[in-house]
């Protein structure tokens, strides 16, 4: 009986008040939405406490003020009301709905990006709170997430700026393709070289206390400290066509180091080595030296022990270092601009296009490069997770015991 009464009341209300404000179609849809809202409200009123019902009405009011009042969009309001009545009893979804409303009303130009990020923020904070039931951790997480806003927002924002068709057309650009292949090729080679020399260094640094170790320890981080352009100039002075080494190589081997692949690889090794070496050091630090001692008492030499015990146990961390260092090499621009502008790597090509043609032309290129890097990065991380999961699990269990 009450349902019927309510329906009639709503019908009359819509006929009288909204006839002049809204066109007939919107009015009908809004009427349906309001019916849904009212029915839901009635069932809440019957079952739940008075407080909950007040909250329910208050929510409606907020939506009304924000969407109808501020954003002036009856259709969106209708949609929100339907969603609101549907998700009212699920607090987390309700949170998402209000985040959507807030980003539409207050961050209109970026509403989609803002909604994705804020939703992520809200969802993960909820997860943290669910796990810990601690306001401290949730607050710390919220503080930390602010950094992510700063990092992810530009990337998400500009990823939405180009149509897929433009991206496909850009992908056909042969110069870009060559640059991309150059990038992937050189950064892989430089990572392999760092792996070959950096892992032994990391092992010695962790296992042996020798005089002057501190100096080496600081030297490892030197490339992070030095501005990339300075690194480029230094390398050019050492390996450039006028330097003794460059001249010698050109005369006898007919190889130009600067302005060639070797120059690119040299610059990439220079800037990305700290990442791999540091990760490898951390990884070896987590391997108990007594395990190595145990292996040696069983007859294994130092080399054999390294190969059979230390390296497998540290492999997860080392591989992670490889990914980081590879990614760093891939994204290098500063030193390459000085040492080897050509053959172009993808990041240099991007810069080149930007200088020549401006922002609009470069955007799809930038998006494509981001997608490629991100895809490769995620794939590698996933691969690491799959292959080294066992090892990591055992390593942590071991470290905690």
């Amino acid at each position: 009986m009450s349902y019927l009464f309510l329906s009639l009341f709503l019908l009359a209300f819509h006929l009288l008040f909204f006839r002049n404000l809204l066109d007939i179609g919107t009015n009908v849809v809004l009427f349906v939405a309001n019916m849904l809202f009212a029915y839901r409200g009635l069932s809440i009123y019957k079952k739940a406490t008075f407080n909950k019902f007040t909250l329910y009405l208050l929510g409606y009011l907020v939506i009304f003020i924000f969407i109808y009042g501020l954003a002036k969009s009856p259709l969106l309001f209708t949609l929100c009301v339907i969603l609101y009545s549907a998700v009212f009893s699920i607090p987390q979804l309700l949170g998402y709905l209000f985040i959507l409303i807030l980003s539409i009303v207050f961050l209109t130009p970026y509403w989609l990006q803002a909604f994705i990020l804020l939703g992520l923020f809200y969802g993960s904070t909820c997860e943290v709170y669910k796990k810990t039931h601690s306001r401290f951790f949730s607050l710390f997480f919220m503080l930390g997430f602010t950094i992510f806003f700063f990092i992810i927002f530009p990337i998400i924002y500009f990823s939405f700026q180009a149509a897929p068709q433009t991206l496909l057309v850009t992908l056909q650009d042969p110069e870009f393709r060559i640059a991309l292949v150059n990038s992937l090729f050189t950064s892989s080679i430089s990572t392999l070289i760092i792996l070959l020399f950096g892992v032994p260094l990391a092992y010695v640094m962790v296992r042996v206390d020798f005089k002057g170790k501190r100096i080496f320890d600081n030297l490892i981080d030197l490339p992070i400290l030095i501005p990339q352009t300075v690194a480029g100039i230094a390398l050019l002075l050492l390996l450039g066509p006028k330097s003794p080494i460059g001249e010698f190589m050109y005369k006898h081997c007919n190889i130009a180091i600067a302005g060639g692949y070797i120059g690119i690889i040299a610059a990439q090794i220079f800037v990305s080595s700290p990442f791999l070496i540091r990760s490898a050091m951390d990884a070896f630090l987590n391997v108990d030296p007594q395990l190595e001692d145990a292996s040696r008492t069983l007859g294994a030499s130092s080399l054999s022990t390294f190969w059979r015990i230390s390296l497998p146990l540290a492999s997860g961390g080392i591989f992670n270092g490889c990914i980081l260092s590879w990614a760093r090499a891939l994204s290098e621009v500063g030193s390459l601009m000085v040492v080897a502008y050509r053959p172009m790597t993808a990041s240099i090509y991007l810069y080149d296009q930007f200088v020549q043609y401006g922002l609009a032309e470069t955007q799809p290129l930038a998006i494509l490069l981001t997608i490629t890097c991100l895809w490769a990065f995620i794939a590698l991380r996933w691969f690491r997770y799959q292959v080294f999961r066992q090892m990591i699990r055992k390593g942590t269990k071991y470290a905690n015991s």
């Binding site: 040696r296 069983l298 146990l313």
Partner: protein
């Protein structure tokens, strides 16, 4: 079998001073001492993980003072569970066989002695009980036919029930294999259950080398008395 002559070694602020004693072939030798007495440092020096600053280590009448651990063929059970976490049980046990040959029969005999079944060999090294881990560690050191076996508080990570069983196993190794063992412990009761002779090491020095009864009835000095006193309170 094992002869230590005036062995000295300093490590950070601690040092071992003039350690000398002998272990006969086939003996079950117990080294007693409180925590921080330098027991582990001594074992590490004997096995070759650390080089001694002075003194000599003879094993099987050969001077092995400066030999690397992999050349000495001395079994060593660490105080902590030192299973290789990334290897299976069988890979752990057979680890040393790449460097040291052993007969099939001998390995089977060890397995029988330690009650290791084929099913057990296939297990993963995660989620093993303390007793099971200890069995694997023992087997791993035994299959390479060690000249002698050093045990650093081998019962420390076992629960009381498996401690009893481990004591029986250790004694049977000594009896059935004729293996020479150097067992390090801080627990006088454990020592009494294993041997009747012991060396007491306190603060990096050997305080007394005598029969256990004698150590209890006539402690060599106040430090030994104090150590025994705290030991009986437990």
């Amino acid at each position: 079998m094992l002869i230590l002559e005036n062995l000295s070694r300093s490590w950070e602020t601690f040092s071992l001073k003039n350690i000398s004693f002998q272990i006969k072939k086939g003996e079950y030798f117990v080294l007693l001492g409180p925590c921080g007495a330098g027991k582990t440092l001594l074992l590490n020096t004997i096995v070759g993980i650390y080089r001694p600053d002075a003194g000599k280590v003879f094993i099987d009448r050969k001077d092995m003072t400066y030999l690397n651990p992999e050349k000495k063929r001395v079994g060593y059970l660490f105080q902590k569970n030192m299973l290789f976490p990334h290897l299976s049980v069988s890979a752990n046990i057979y680890y040393g066989l790449r460097y040291q040959r052993s007969e099939e029969d001998y390995i089977k005999y060890i397995f029988r002695l330690l009650d290791i079944s084929d099913l057990f060999l296939k297990k993963d090294t995660l989620n093993l009980s303390g007793g099971e881990a200890q069995k694997i560690l023992l087997a791993r050191s035994l299959v390479i036919r060690p000249r002698l076996l050093l045990l650093d508080e081998p019962l420390s990570f076992l629960d009381p029930a498996s401690r009893e069983r481990a004591l029986v196993i250790l004694k049977s190794l000594n009896k059935n294999l004729g293996l020479t063992l150097l067992h390090v412990t801080h627990d006088l009761k454990e020592a009494e259950a294993l041997a009747d002779h012991a060396v007491v090491l306190i603060d990096g020095e050997i305080m007394q080398n005598a029969k256990l009864q004698e150590i209890v009835s006539q402690p060599a000095n106040s430090q030994v008395r104090q150590y025994l006193g705290t030991n009986y309170e437990h």
